[in-house]
C-alpha cells in the first residue's frame, strides 16, 4: 500500500509538471518525492527513489538517458544527510532552504551532464532564470516535507 502511494504521488508530480506553468517556467516537482524519500528513509532509499524517478524522467524527455537519473540519485542521497539530523537539525526554514538549494543543484547537474554528453540544452541566462523560478516554486514544499527527526 505504501509503495502504491509513492507511485501515485510521483505520477501526480509528473502530471502537474506537464500541466502547470509559472511565468513560462514548468515546475520541477519530481525532485520532491526523491527529497522526501531521502529525508524519511535514509540515503539508500533516497538514492533508489532518485534512480527510478530519474530514469522515468529521462525516458520521457526522449533524449539522453542518465542526466536526471544521476542528478536525482545525488539529490536523494544528499537530502538524507542535509536535513535528517546527521549534519543539521531539521527546521521548517532549513527545509525551505534545502528544497530550493537541491532544486538548483538538480538543474545544474542536468544542464552540465547534457552539455557534456549531448548538446547545450539552453542559454545560460535561461538556465539561471528557470532554476531560480523552480527553486522558488518548490521551496514552500520544504515546510511540509518533514524529517522524522523533527521536533
Amino acid at each position: 500500500m505504501r509503495y502504491l502511494l509513492w507511485i501515485a504521488a510521483t505520477f501526480c508530480c509528473f502530471l502537474l509538471q506537464g500541466k502547470l506553468s509559472v511565468l513560462g517556467v514548468a515546475p520541477n516537482f519530481t525532485i520532491l518525492p526523491v527529497y522526501y524519500a531521502g529525508l524519511r528513509h535514509g540515503e539508500t532509499r533516497g538514492l533508489l527513489a532518485g534512480i527510478l524517478i530519474g530514469f522515468f524522467e529521462d525516458s520521457l524527455s526522449y533524449s539522453l538517458i542518465g542526466p536526471h537519473l544521476m542528478s536525482h540519485a545525488i539529490i536523494g542521497y544528499t537530502s538524507a544527510f542535509l536535513v535528517s539530523g546527521a549534519l543539521f537539525r531539521w527546521t521548517a526554514l532549513l527545509g525551505v532552504i534545502a528544497v530550493a538549494t537541491l532544486t538548483v543543484a538538480d538543474n545544474i547537474i542536468v544542464f552540465a551532464a547534457k552539455s557534456i554528453f549531448d548538446k547545450v540544452p539552453a542559454l545560460f541566462s535561461t538556465v539561471v532564470y528557470t532554476s531560480v523560478m523552480q527553486a522558488l516554486i518548490n521551496a514552500p514544499a520544504g515546510i511540509f516535507l518533514v524529517s522524522k527527526n523533527a521536533d
Binding site: 506537464g18 540515503e43 534512480i51 525516458s59 520521457l60 526522449y62 538517458i65 542521497y77 544542464f111
Partner: protein
C-alpha cells in the same frame, strides 16, 4: 569505505558510462509505453477540466463575444469587398504564370494535452499520433503561423518541438525581398535569423516565412517579424537579427499538422 557510502559513486560512475556510451552510439530509444501512460492521463485530465470549465467560460464570454463578433462581421464585410478585387487579380496572374497553389496538406488538427517534461526542452504533447497519420518531421502550424515540428510519434500521441527551443532551426526567407536565412530558437520568446550577410538589407518589421529549402517545412508558412537588427558586428561574420514569432509558444492550444 562502507557499502552505503560506496553506492553514490557507483551510481554516478554508471551514469557517466551510460551517457558516454549514448554520446558515442546515439540515444537509447525511450519506451513508448511509459510516455503513453502519462500522455493518456494528461488527455483525460485535459478533457475533464475542459468539460467542467467550458459551460462557465461560455456563459461569461457569450455577451462580450457577441458584441465583438458583430463588430468583426461588419469589419470583415468591408474588408472582403476590398480584397475581392485583389484576389481575382491574383488568381488571373497565377493562371498566367502557370503557378500552382502551394500543396499544403492538412494531416490532422490536434489539441495540446501537456508540455514536455524536460526542464529545458520546449516541447508539447499533442493528442494525435500515428493512427491519425502524423509522422516525424511534419510541420506544425496555428492560424498565426509556424509553431514547430513533430519530433516523435506514438500510436495516439505526438511530441512537437517549439520554435523557441534551442534545437529548433528552419530555412526561412524574408517575404518581400526573398532574402534567405536560417531561423534558430534561443530558448526565449524571440528567435534568431542566422547567416544573413552584412550586405543584405534587413529592416525591423520585415515578415519572415519558411522557404522550404530544408525539405522539412512547407514553404510559405509565416513565422514572425524582424524585431531587432544589429549590423555592428555582434553576430560575427553575419548580421545579428532577432525575430519575434507570430505565434507565442506559451499560448498554443490547438494546432494543425501539415506536410
Amino acid at each position: 569505505m562502507s557499502r552505503k557510502k560506496a553506492l553514490l559513486p557507483i551510481v554516478v560512475i554508471i551514469s557517466f558510462i551510460l551517457m558516454t556510451y549514448q554520446s558515442k552510439k546515439g540515444h537509447f530509444g525511450s519506451p513508448a509505453q511509459i510516455s503513453s501512460l502519462l500522455d493518456s492521463a494528461h488527455k483525460t485530465i485535459a478533457s475533464l477540466t475542459g468539460s467542467l470549465s467550458q459551460p462557465f467560460k461560455r456563459l461569461a464570454l457569450r455577451e462580450e463575444e457577441n458584441t465583438r463578433l458583430r463588430q468583426r462581421v461588419d469589419e470583415l464585410l468591408l474588408e472582403r469587398d476590398r480584397y475581392l478585387d485583389a484576389v481575382l487579380e491574383n488568381k488571373r496572374l497565377k493562371e498566367l504564370l502557370k503557378l500552382q497553389e502551394s500543396s499544403k496538406t492538412t494531416v490532422a488538427a490536434a489539441r495540446v494535452v501537456a508540455r514536455g517534461t524536460g526542464h529545458w526542452e520546449h516541447t508539447l504533447v499533442l493528442d494525435k499520433g500515428l493512427k491519425d497519420g502524423v509522422a516525424k518531421d511534419m510541420t506544425v502550424i496555428t492560424p498565426m503561423g509556424l509553431a514547430g515540428k513533430i519530433i516523435s510519434v506514438t500510436d495516439s500521441f505526438s511530441r512537437m518541438l517549439l520554435l523557441s527551443d534551442i534545437n529548433f532551426s528552419a530555412a526561412v526567407r524574408v517575404r518581400e525581398t526573398r532574402k534567405e536565412g536560417v531561423l534558430a530558437g534561443t530558448g526565449t520568446r524571440t528567435c534568431m535569423l542566422k547567416y544573413v550577410p552584412y550586405e543584405e538589407e534587413i529592416k525591423t518589421g520585415d515578415v519572415i516565412a519558411t522557404s522550404g529549402l530544408d525539405s522539412l517545412f512547407v514553404p510559405g508558412v509565416p513565422v514572425g517579424y524582424v524585431s531587432k537588427v544589429d549590423n555592428k558586428g555582434l553576430g560575427g561574420n553575419f548580421q545579428y537579427i532577432e525575430l519575434t514569432p507570430f505565434q507565442d509558444s506559451s499560448r498554443i492550444e490547438e494546432v494543425l499538422v501539415i506536410r
